[in-house]
Amino acid sequence: MFPWVNGFKWDVGHVVFLGAFYTVVMIVLATVVRAVLRSRRHFRAEKVDAIRWRQDFHDLPARDRRCRHELNGEVDSRLCENAFDCRSCAKHPEFERAAAARTDLPKGELFGFPMPLDRLYHRGHTWVRKEQDGTLSVGLDELGARLIGKPERLDLPEPGRHVHANGTGWSAGRNGSMVRVLAPIEGTVLATGGPDQGWYLKLKPDTPKPDTRHLLRDAEAVRWMSRELDRLQLLTTRGACPALADGGALVEDLGAALPKNEWAAVCGEMLLEP
């Protein structure tokens, strides 16, 4: 084992064999140590949320990773490569330019499903609204709200904490399982609300003019939402339970309507948590 241990010989066999052995040990050790150090660094750099989202996104089934422009019909089939952050997407501006002539003005509701257009929508079913005071309020859109219904537990970030776009905004507990809600945009938490206030977070944006290119607005948002409703429909009917009540209107509280497991699965699907 070592030169000073009984039985060790300085012959080719020993040197080659033990050499190989120690190399292997070193490589394995180095690999693991590297992994540890790097993860420590990420940890320090508060990259956790980013990484989590990247992982989640990677684990999402293909059908949930469609590019927004596919939804718009501006491209027939495209998977998003930037984890739904169009700001870092090379192709996004091109699509935008191509779609500059978007004219159709949608109305603020969908099958009696309120869809206020004064705000920007995130694909995790949250919205952002720029307030006069320059803060941003963040909330759950109607679908999200009905999905979660009345949360039994609500883990909101304490004021002063910084949230990242696509990071965990907050998580809500229902039916004994938690579901995390993605933050639509980065900013520092000023105040926290809840289902009753109609908003969940008040954020102080990092920059006076926050970049919101990655969020859905107007018609695009509506199209997306209608597709989301179809998805939900699909999901819930697979579980053969009434998600859409009479006339295709979404029931008030899916959390109550769906059996626990189904609900958890549906939440995961809709709120982009694999």
């Binding site: 070592f2 000073w4 241990v5 009984n6």
Partner: protein
Amino acid sequence: MGLGRRDLLKLMGGGAAGLFLTPVPWRLIDGVAIRTENWPGVPDPPRGEVRTRYTTCTLCPAACGVRARSVVDQPVSLAGVAAHPTSAGVLCAAGLCGHHLPLLPSRVRQPLARRGDKFQPVPIDTVAAAVAAALEDIRNSGSAERVAVLDARPGRTASLIYRRWLGTAPNGIYLLAPSADSSASLGIDIARTGTVLSFGAPVLDGWGTPGRVLEARRSFRLIQVETRQSRTALLADGWLPIRPGTEAALALGIANVLIAEKLYDAAAARSASDFAEYAALAAEFPPQRAAELTGLPAQTIVAAARDFVGHGTAVAVAGSDPGAGPMGDGERIAIAALNVLAGSIGREGGFLPRGEAPRPPGFEEAALAPEHGIADAPDASIRVLIIDDARAAGAWCWSAIERKLARAHIVVALTGSLDGAARHADFVVPAPAYLEEVEDAPAPPDVPAAMFSLAGALLKPPPEAVDGVDFLNRMAGGGAALADVLKERVAAIHAARRGEVFHYTDGARTAVSDVKSAEDLWKALEEGGCWIDRRPAPKQEGRVTILGAAADRVLEAASGRLPADALYPLALVPYGWRGASGGAVSPIMTKLYQESDVETGGDTVELHPDTAQRYGIADRQVAIVQTRCGSCRRRVRVDDAVMPGVIQAEVGPSASGNCRPEALLDACGVAGDGTWRLARASLRRA
């Protein structure tokens, strides 16, 4: 700045990590390795001053010289004494582990009395009193009941003391243990022998004095007459596999050829008073008939006869197998007769008469009870039977002894360990075991010169040990101890000024005449030595008788021992190995009977493949051997060296428990001539 717990932990962690870069932990592990290499938990051999001590082996009549390597006083290994005049530096397997015998689990450490089939400790005086009472009763009642000593090792000084005591005891009778070689007055000049014709004698396997015989092996031809392919048969120059129990027939067949072809020694024949009668008897066994009886081809018998006398002095020896007991007188005589024909009695290389170590005063033959075989004692006649050293003589068929016992009887066994015949005793007297007592060893039966060796005591006997002489003295209320008588005898030897002393320590020899005093002689013998008489000059006997009154017994033996028997078609042939068939053996002997091909073990029988097939028994299956007298379970070994129609059964220790030969030997049953070496048997799968 304060040092937080966190920093402290970090420091410790770093320290631990750093430690691994230093040789310290590795050295520690190496230390552990070396420590664990010397694992404890196994017996630790006692250390101490290593000495070499000498004694003489008394486990069998061969009386081999023994060199004992001892740690302090405990012998840890035994070996032969190089250049020993008779044993020639040889010890047999049994002798090599003799130092285990005093430590056997079956060792007897205090006197025992039988209660039902258990033994319970009793004071020695109770035993002595019981025997004394019985003696008194015989004396007073004047009945014809006998007082007997059954001596497994005749010819010792102790034997003389027994015989003297029996001379005075009421109806005393001195019995030689069955299969014990009697203190015959003829030895064989084996070094000069031309041919040895052995009828079942294990010549190369512990017969006579192994060292002496094996040393001479190259110089004599060996013809082995034996049903079984024994080790001797394997190494013999010729093997005559005869049907069981037809030794006498073959002997007479050979005699027939010798006489017919005038190959015999005419002078020797003339000296025989009843040669004509013998010749007439032999005439009834022409090769043809002998062939029919023995199952050998006639020409083989003729060839054997010519071979026998064709190479210098020829001796014919009758075997007594350690497991199977002695041969019948008929066979013995028929075989002995061949020596007369060969003229080997009293000739160089033949049988030489030999004397005996001088006896101390008071032991003249007249004063002693004569030697008898067990057969000589009338049935149901023995009231008191004292067995000396039950384990020494090999296996006994207990029923042969039992039938001699009176209805009310006392059997006292003097023994070191509770096994062999001792298990049948009413009282067991804890005799000193091998190496525990100073005793003497007489000349080995095959040695042509008188000898006397002392076996010095290397170990202390247990406090309650009582030897035979001591026991007699306790009954008689006093008398000389064995040691004193031995001293007297040594004094007598010294006084005779004959022969020389061989010193085990340095292999030197000193003429007795040069030994200053009897004390010096005693000292020399006790610290390892033996006295050898000068070789007697060869001289032909005057008149000899060949058959004597035994003609009919010879005829009976010669016409075959095993008459056909429809119910019991097979022949059961027990056999044993010297030093192991008698009783419990050193546990090391497992190597021989369990972990090698040397012995098959006392729980097996061997069959020829055809025999096995006929009875539908496969190798290693268990079978039951059934005879008219009993039965026993044995594991079958199929071996095509076995004669078809024969069951070979080893008598001795076995993997499946200690040695209990009785089952088999009792199944053999005692024949008319008092032997049990053969029986008709049948076989069935268990």
